[in-house]
Amino acid sequence: MTGTWPLVRLALRRDRILLPAWIIGLSLMVASSVTATRDLYPTRESLTSAAETINATAALVALYGKVYDPTSLGAISLIKLTAFGAAIVGIIFVFIVIRHTRAEEESGRLELIGAGAVGRAAPLTASLIVSMGASVVLGVLTALGLGAAGLAWGGAFAFGLSWALAGIVFSAIAAVAAQAMTSARAAIGVGVAAVGAAYALRAVGDLGDADPGLLSWLSPVGWSQQIRPFAGDRWWIAAVPIVATAVLVPIAYSLRARRDLGSGLVPERGGPALGTIGGVMGLAWRLQRGLFIAWALGSALMGMVLGSVAHTIAGLLNSPEMAKFFEALGGSQGLTTMFLAAEIGILGSLVGAYAIAAASRLRSEETAGHVELLLSTPATRVRWATSHLAFACVGSAIIIVITGSAIGLAHGLAIGDVGGQVPRLFAASAGQVPAALVIAGIVMLLFGVAPRMVVGAWGLLVAFIVLGEFGSLWQLPQWALDVSPFAHSPRLPGGEVDPGQLALLTGVAAVLIAVGLVAWRRRDLRP
C-alpha cells in the first residue's frame, strides 16, 4: 500500500477538471428535472395519471423502470434518471477506474511509478479511493440539490445513495476488468458491456409479473432502482451493492497479486508471421473492426428489443397525460409512431458516441506514436486521416440503418407487417445519419485544429443529448435547442422530412471535416 496517497493526489491532479465537471453537471441535472416536472404536472391528479400511464406502458417500464409511488413528485420527476442515470454514472466510473489503472499500465507510465517506493497494489487502491470517493461526493451533492429543490430530505439522500452505490459497484467491476484484460480498450469494453447488461437485465426484470422480477435483482442498476427513493426509501437494499463490492474488490486484488505488470488473465497468443494488411485502409479496418462489430451487433439487438415492445404502447391513446408526456418529448402523432420516432431519435444520439469513439482513433494513434511510423512511408496525412474518418462516417451510417431495420423487423413481426415496417424504419433511421456525420466532423475539426481537445467531443455529445432530452422540459429558447445537430434530424417515422435541414447538417459536416483535414495537413505531429 506504500505510495497510495501520492498516487491519489496524482489522479486528482489529472482529473481536476473532468471529475468536478461530471459531478456538478449530473447533480444540477437532477435538481433541475424536479423543478421542470413540478411545472409540467402542477396538480396531484395530473402527476398520478402520468405516473400510472408510465407504469402501464411496457416500453416505458423497459426504458426507465416503474414509478413505485405514483403520488410522489420525486419518484416521477426522477424516473428518467433512476435506472438510466445509474447506468450513466456506471459508465463514467468505469472510464475513471480504467484510466488510472490499465490505461496507465498499458502506456508504461505505471512501470515508471512501480519502480519507485510504491506498493504493487497501490495504483489499484488509489484509483478505487478516487472513484469511490467521487461516487460519495456525487451522491451527497445530488441529495443536497434535490433537498434544495424542495423535496423530502429522506428521499433526496436515498436517491443520492442509489447513484453513489452505482458508482461504487461499477468501480469495483471496472477494477476487476482492469486486472483481467491486457488493454485499456478491452477493459473499458468489458466495463461498459457490464453496464449495458445490467441495464438490460433490469429492463426484462421490471417487465415481469413479480415486482420486480428476479433478473432485476441480478442487476447493479436494478439495485439502485430498488432503493426506491421518494417511494418508500428502502435503505436496507444498500446492503446488496455493498456486499457485491466487498466480493469484487478482493477479486481485483487477488488478480493483481497473481499477475505480472502489463499482463492479464488470458495469456497473449501469437500472431501470423506474415502480414496481410494491405495499407492504411486495411490497418484502419484491423484497428476499428472490434468497435464496429460490437456496436452493430449491440445496437441491432437493442433495436429488436425496442421494436418488439413498440406496439404495446397503442391503446393508451385515451390518456391525455400520456400524450402530454410525449408532447414534452417533442412528438405529436400516434403513440406507437411517436414511440418509434423517439427510439430512432435516441438511436441517432447514441450512435454519435460510436462516431466519436471511431474518429478519436485519429488522436490515440497520434499520441501512441504510431502515426510517426506510418507517415514516414509514402502514405499521406489525408489518406491516413480519411481511413479512420471513413469508419466514423460510413460505420455510423451502417450501424444506424441496421438498427433501424432491426426495429422494423421486430415491430413488423409483432404486428404482422414485416414487408411494410422494415423499409419504413430503415428510411426513418437513415434520417439520423447526417447528424452523426456532424458529430464525426466535430472530432475531425478538433483533431486538426486543437488535437488536445478531441476528448471534449464527448462533453459536447452529452450536452447535445441533455439539450434534446431536457431542453423543452426546461423551456429553453429555440436557438439554444438548435445548437444540437440532433434537433435538426427529422422526427421519423410520422414527421415531415425537411430536405433543407438534412442538407444543412450534411453541409456542416462536410465543412467541419474539410477544415479539420486542412488544419491537420498544416500542423505539426503532436504526440
Binding site: 501469437g270 500472431g271 506474415l274 502480414g275 494488411i277 484497428l287 506514436g369 504510431h370 507517415l375 505539426d524
Partner: protein
C-alpha cells in the same frame, strides 16, 4: 527552396523550429552527401529527433531551407518518403499486431518488400515475427522497425538512435548492415550519442549542440581540433619539453612520460623523447568521446 546540388541527399540551411516560446533549432545547417554514412551526434535534447522529424515533414519548419533528395519534405512528403526509410528513436507499434504484420504493412506502404531480404534480416536479428507487439521488449520493437526499414530498397536511411535498445551482439549485426548499405551506395543519416558506433561507421560527422550544428567534417578533419595523447617510457627526464610549442600537460611519473600534443608539436616532442632515451612510445588520436567532451564542456554547453 530547392537549391540542393545533386550530390547532396540532405541539404539543410539555417533551419529554425520553435515549440511555443522555446526555440529548439536555432539555424541548423546539415549536409549529407550521396553515398555516405553521416553521423549526427549530440546529447539528449540537443534537437536530433526534432531535426529528423522536420526532414520527414512530420513537423513544419519556422525558418530556413530544407531539401531531402532534392525535394521539399513538407510539401512533397509522400514523394520523399517513397525514396527513404526511417527508424524512429522511440518505436511504438500497434499492440495487437504481430511483428511480421507490422513489417509487411510498412513494406507494402513502401511499395513492396524484398522477401528474401526480410527472411535474412529476421534471422540476423533473431526476431520472432509471430509475437504480438504488446509482448515485445524495447529492443525487439526496435528490431521490428529496423527489419522493416532495412528490407526496404531506399536511397536514404534515417536512423534515430537505432541501437539504443540492442544488445552488443545485435549492435554488431546492425553495424554490418550499415556497412552493406554503404557498399551498395546508399546514404545513411545516423543519429546517435553512442560515439564508438559513429566512429566505426561514419564517413562524416556533424555535432549538434543546443539546436545548432557546431562542427561538421570527416573524423580526420575533426581530430585536428583536439590533441593527440602521447605516452612513453623514458630513461631520463626529457629536456625542455614544457617550453615546446604545441605540447601541453607534460608529466613524468617515474619513467612514464605523458603529454598532449597538437599537430605543430609532434616533431619537436619526438626529437626530445628520442634524446631522452625512450624505450617505448604509444600515441593515440582523440576518441570521439574526447572530441565530444571538448565541445560540450565549454561554457554554455551541456556536460
Amino acid at each position: 527552396m530547392n537549391t540542393a546540388s545533386p550530390d547532396l541527399v540532405i541539404d539543410v540551411r539555417g533551419l529554425v523550429k520553435n515549440f511555443g516560446r522555446t526555440q529548439v533549432l536555432k539555424g541548423l545547417d546539415l549536409q549529407v552527401n550521396r553515398g555516405e554514412v553521416h553521423a549526427f551526434l549530440g546529447p539528449n535534447g540537443a534537437g536530433k529527433t526534432t531535426t529528423l522529424r522536420l526532414l520527414l515533414g512530420l513537423l513544419r519548419s519556422d525558418g530556413g531551407s530544407m531539401s531531402v533528395l532534392g525535394l521539399d519534405p513538407w510539401s512533397q512528403a509522400a514523394d520523399v518518403h517513397r525514396r527513404l526509410a526511417y527508424v524512429p528513436g522511440d518505436v511504438a507499434l500497434w499492440p495487437g499486431l504481430s511483428g511480421g504484420e507490422v513489417i509487411d504493412l510498412l513494406g507494402r506502404l513502401h511499395g513492396g518488400i524484398d522477401q528474401a531480404r526480410r527472411t535474412e534480416l529476421l534471422e540476423r536479428f533473431d526476431l520472432d515475427p509471430t509475437k504480438k507487439a504488446r509482448t515485445y521488449s524495447k529492443g525487439n520493437r526496435q528490431k521490428v522497425a529496423l527489419v522493416a526499414a532495412l528490407a526496404t530498397d531506399a536511397e536514404l536511411y534515417l536512423l534515430d538512435e537505432p541501437t539504443a535498445g540492442l544488445d552488443p551482439l545485435m549492435e554488431a549485426q546492425f553495424k554490418e548492415c550499415v556497412v552493406q548499405l554503404r557498399d551498395a551506395g546508399r546514404s545513411v543519416l545516423l543519429s546517435s550519442h553512442i560515439l564508438s558506433e559513429a566512429e566505426v561507421l561514419s564517413d562524416r560527422v556533424s555535432i549538434i549542440r543546443d539546436g545548432a550544428v557546431v562542427e561538421t567534417g570527416t573524423l580526420d578533419q575533426l581530430r585536428h581540433l583536439t590533441r593527440t595523447t602521447v605516452s612513453a617510457t623514458v630513461a631520463r627526464s626529457p629536456e625542455g619539453v614544457e617550453a615546446l610549442t604545441g605540447v601541453y600537460a607534460a608529466t613524468l611519473t617515474g619513467d612514464r612520460f605523458t603529454a598532449q600534443v597538437d599537430a605543430d608539436g609532434v616533431a619537436p616532442l619526438l626529437a626530445a623523447l628520442s634524446s631522452a632515451g625512450a624505450t617505448s612510445l604509444v600515441s593515440h588520436p582523440p576518441t570521439l568521446e574526447e572530441l565530444f567532451l571538448s565541445h560540450y564542456s565549454e561554457p554554455g554547453g551541456a556536460p
